[in-house]
Amino acid sequence: MRSYVLRRLLMMIPTLFGITIVSFLVMQLSPGDPLLAKHSATGGQSTGTRHAYLLQKKELKLDKPLLLNARYLFNYEDEARIGAGVLQMSKTSLADLLTVIGDTPEDELTEQQTVQLKLFRSLRVSAKLNAGIPQFEELLHPLGLPTGQIKRSELTQEEWALRVRERRESLAAAVRDFTEVWMADRYLHLTPQMIALLTAEDTSCELKIGAIQALHVMVENPFTYTFSREPTLAQEREVVATWQRLWPIAADKFGEVAPDRATRTRAIISQIAERTRAAMIGSNDKETQAAAKIAMFDTIENEFSYEDAPVMYATLIGDYPLYEKVIAAEFLKLHEIGGGKLETDVPRDASAEKIAQAAANWRLYYQVHRDTYEPSVPMRLVYLLTDTQYGHMVWRLVSFQFGKTAVEPREPVAQKIGRAIFVSVPLMVMAQLIIYLIAIPSGVVCAVSHHRQGGGARSGEASQTPQSFLRRHISSLYETLSVVLWRRGALDRNLSLILFFLYSIPPFVAAMLLLLGFCYGGWLAIFPMGGLHSDNADSMGYVAYTLDYIWHAFLPVMCLSLFSLAGLAMYSRSAMLDVLTQDFIRTARSKGISNYQVIVKHALPNSLIPIVTLFAGFLPAMLGGSVLIEVIFNIPGMGRLGFSAIEQKDYPTLMALIYIDAIVVMLSILMTDLLYVVIDPRISFGKEGTAS
């Protein structure tokens, strides 16, 4: 038995794998990137929007290849050169280049131009699905004609040339935008090449400008000026490197600090650092931490002055505790020492000096972050498989890191789903309870009634076995009822018919009809139209709140349970009928046990065995069906969350929902499988691995 359980658990691993594959496939069907689609529709896009888009793409790892990341094996030198070239060009000059490429037959292009054309073309396919540059060829060669054969049915030569030029200019804008996106997708591989371009002796000034601009596009926030909420040693290296670069610019403004002032400053620094550290590490309370942070900032602002900068810098680079460095960095940032910011972008007409400065900054950045960009060879092989969209998605799903939602406000998906689960789960549990509490008895009643159809009603004689007073009376009542009601299976037929009709009403139809009947209008409006709580629910007492909840939840729970209820009852009926025809029941009867005991003690437990497994079977239907019920009743649960995620194209939430639903079902199937084994001793644990 233990080996069966173990095997069953091991089998979950491929299943989990399968779930991730299906989720991934479903997500790949999503109609392009909503942001990118918006981009190509409107043509242009503000830098801010693109910035946000690139950030979000990096966050969800959508910039990676789908299944196999072979980018680590390529050399992106040419691409880097061309990309920098494109970024460095103005829109007009890029349009000129496109004109040259477009008007020259392809076999007469220079080698560089061929590579450029190839790159431009590859921009089309690199963006997800068909969201790339629309009609690249048509824009490059208008009307799809080969070069030189321009059809001028109505236009003069000049007009035609103007139109072609217009098209190529819009293509130039698109090429620029998409080059940026394309490079941002491959920032891991292009950044080293760009740095190499900057370092190389023979690189022209224009190309350097392009490279710097490309780096600016590809790398978000290259420098760290201060520590994050939870400072780490890795951060320290970056921060120190940043200020080491900034300090020399401002160093000559400061004289020597007086020793006593320096001592005082040092003392205050270590004092607050200790206090902050204690607050941050010592307590888990968020408010205490925030208060300590605020106190720290206050002290930095009030206690120190601009002249303390050398002391601070010494603290930062010296061998001091981490939190003292935190304070020093905050101070330096506050007073904007050395301009407070390392220049990482240059305009197109920048002077050689500025270019050199920015280039130096980027080299510094690269030195600090070299490990990220130059992984070791074994790591490259690992990344080949793992650093892909699928790999990252599997990791996110398996580790339950669902990220943030795609719609404003961008709250964490887990939080959103958590809230919805707390709405949905009670409804589901109530529905399941109702299903089992009503379905099984009615199924049993039907079956018993049907069974009697053949055998005829038994007389209600008291059995020979001694019984308690209560039980004797219950059983005699039961016998009387059975004689009156269940003669010739009338009850079975009626109840079955009712169940059958219930089974035939789709739950959402029932929901709408119930809303129409019992919620809308005047005289029968006894239930609320939707929601789960009244407006003033927060001010209610405990009992009133519960009653209010039940009042609101009654109809939704009813709709959720009706369909499965009827199904389960019919199933229970047939299971009971199966059991009732078996020999041991006849044996029990022939021993003279009362009908009640035969049914409740002998038949019922045996008929329950197949029913238990149905628990997991109804769950997917219920989770899916709850979409409609929750939308109709306006309940903010899992189903409606899923629907609104579909409507708002909120893919992270959607993926998380599909995955969580599948996991829930998987766990419940596992549970019932194990339960099945426990309750039915007849089940063998064959080598097949399945209980049969």
Partner: protein, 565 residues
């Protein structure tokens, strides 16, 4: 024990085709407690049918389903805004030129023809010549031109043209006459001709071939194909005599003939089919929809009490909008002033004024199509994959079983909703998505059944006789293993119809002009004051689902020997 089932037709059919020998079915047949001895052959399906007929509810449901199909096939006969026939005065004036020319050739001097001034004709009077300028709204340039040319040519030829208006001057009639017919007599030489100019057009017939939705084309073709098939059936019955046995034998080929004709017609008259025909034979086979834009009921309303069209009983089209009448409750009529336009919206209208009753009638087509196509897609996938998994076992089985298990984990409706929302709303997408997501249950069922059959002796015998794997699976095992799948089909159809309605309710099932029950529910916009948009589609869906469920349970009982008492 003798087994009076049909003997296997081919030698390689070793196994019991209909029923396994040890099953209680066989014993029942052999016992002679039924009329097996009198019937020449009692196949498995005869047996099931006999059992099925005993179940009154299921039997009635089967007939209800058939009538549902009849409604679906013949709904253009019940409801359409296009008249079967229409006496068209616009067309009359158009044809006038040709008519005049024909009369002149036959030597007729005087003709009398009717011009309806208010249908867009404009007649100008001149001193001694009659110039008739026809400007019908929907006419082509050529028609107008021709009439003028012919008349002027005639004037030149004879030089004697006069007109005569009965009782009134032409001018009076043109600008004051409201309801009277204007009659203009034109003398040519000395002869006189009588005859009303005009043409009867058949818009309904053209409209049949040009529906908005390809599904409609299929059903329209089914309606057209019904006529020859019925004729063939009646002829056969007349020639060979009306016998039950004959009917039973002819049922399956007749049905196949009917479906085949329908498919053939659909392929011929669909847009690509027409293009191919045009490429090969040089002419269109599909009638164009030249009257599709016209609103005949409007024209009739303006024409006054002289109705000249012959319409189906309900004069509303499935996609015909009437925005001023939006959200009208049941039994409301359009307006009381117009004598010709008194048609009642029996079940009210929706948010753009389309008639709910008509939409519900046409929805049966969409629902039945989605139900049956989706189920056939997933049943085929499920049967094939399940059979392969069950038959070959080993790694194939493990792989397919894993896939089945994984697919079963996802909440079906939510998965379908997501996929349909991603790919785009359309009934075809809905069908395919339902088909591609629902197959695992069938596959699991078939797999279990095939596992059972594989262990039986006849499979080994078939293998021993040298039959290939595919032959064993599809010719020997599957015929014995598909009956549980057949039982699930009616339930599956009901489920698919429900899923489609749910998707449409959320706005992701069909594209708007296509009428379905779920979309009607959607159009209530959550406003329960429009109760007719909720109650009637709900009832229709409840009816359909019940019918399918009853048939399903009847079939299950009939096929399950344990329940046969």
């Amino acid at each position: 024990m003798s087994q009076p089932t049909e003997q296997p037709e081919s030698a390689d059919r070793v196994g019991p085709v209909g029923v396994p020998a040890e099953s209680p079915l066989a014993s029942e047949v052999g016992n002679g407690n039924c009329t097996a001895a009198t019937i020449d052959s009692e196949s498995y399906f005869d047996l099931v049918w006999r059992q099925f007929k005993k179940n009154t509810a299921a039997y009635v449901s089967l007939w209800l389903l058939i009538s549902l199909f009849i409604v679906a096939i013949f709904c253009p006969l019940m409801a359409s805004n296009q008249p079967f026939a229409f006496f068209d005065r616009n067309e009359a004036a158009l044809a006038g030129g040709a008519f005049l020319a024909r009369l002149r050739l036959s030597g007729v001097d005087e003709i009398t023809f009717v011009i309806e001034p208010r249908l867009g004709h404009h007649i100008r009077e001149a001193e001694d010549t009659l110039v008739v300028t026809v400007r019908p709204r929907n006419a082509k340039e050529e028609g107008e031109y021709e009439l003028r040319r012919v008349i002027s040519a005639r004037i030149e030829a004879t030089g004697r043209v006069s007109y005569q208006v009965r009782n009134k001057t032409l001018f009076d009639l043109l600008f004051h006459g409201q309801d009277e017919q204007t009659k203009v007599a034109v003398k040519l030489n000395s002869a006189t001709a009588k005859g009303s100019l005009g043409r009867t057009i058949y818009p309904w017939g053209r409209w049949l071939f040009n529906p908005a939705e390809p599904v409609d084309l299929f059903f329209n073709m089914a309606m057209i194909a019904f006529v020859p098939c019925l004729f063939a059936a009646v002829t056969t019955a007349a020639v060979k005599g009306c016998k039950w046995g004959l009917f039973k034998r002819a049922l399956a080929p007749g049905f196949i003939l009917y479906i085949g004709t329908t498919i053939l017609l659909s392929m011929l008259f669909c847009e690509p089919g027409n293009d191919i025909f045009q490429a090969v034979f040089g002419g269109r086979i599909k009638p164009d929809n030249r009257y599709g834009e016209r609103t005949f009921t409007e024209e009739e309303a303006r024409a006054g009490p002289r109705a000249t069209g012959w319409y189906p009983p309900i004069r509303f089209g499935p996609v015909e909008q009437d925005v001023p009448m939006r959200f009208s409750p049941p039994l409301s009529r359009r307006s009381s002033e117009r004598p010709n336009d008194q048609h009642i919206h029996f079940l009210g209208t929706d948010n753009v004024g389309r008639d709910v009753l008509v939409q519900m009638i046409y929805s049966t087509r969409i629902s039945l199509t989605i139900g049956f196509i989706a189920v056939s897609i997933y049943a085929s996938i499920g049967v094939v994959l399940g059979a392969i998994a069950g038959y070959f076992g080993g790694w194939t089985d493990i792989l397919i079983s894993r896939v089945i298990e994984v697919m079963l984990l996802f909440p079906a409706f939510f998965l379908i909703l997501t996929l349909v929302a991603f790919i785009g709303p359309s009934i075809y997408i809905t069908m395919v998505v339902i088909g591609l997501t629902q197959w695992p249950a069938t596959a699991r069922l078939v797999r279990g059944e095939v596992l059972k059959q594989r262990a039986m002796d006849y499979t080994a015998a078939a293998r021993a006789l040298g039959a290939g794997h595919m032959r064993v699976i599809f010719r020997h095992i599957l015929p014995n293993a598909v009956s549980p799948v057949l039982v699930t089909v009616p339930f599956g159809v009901a489920g698919a119809i429900t899923v489609e309605a749910g998707l449409s309710l959320l706005g992701y099932g069909v594209r708007p002009p296509t009428p379905t029950w779920g979309f009607l529910l959607n159009q209530s916009n959550g406003n329960y004051a429009n109760w007719w948009l909720i109650v009637f589609p709900s009832l229709a869906m409840f009816f359909t689902v019940t019918v399918f469920n009853l048939i399903g349970s009847g079939l299950r009982d009939a096929m399950d020997p344990r329940l046969r008492r």
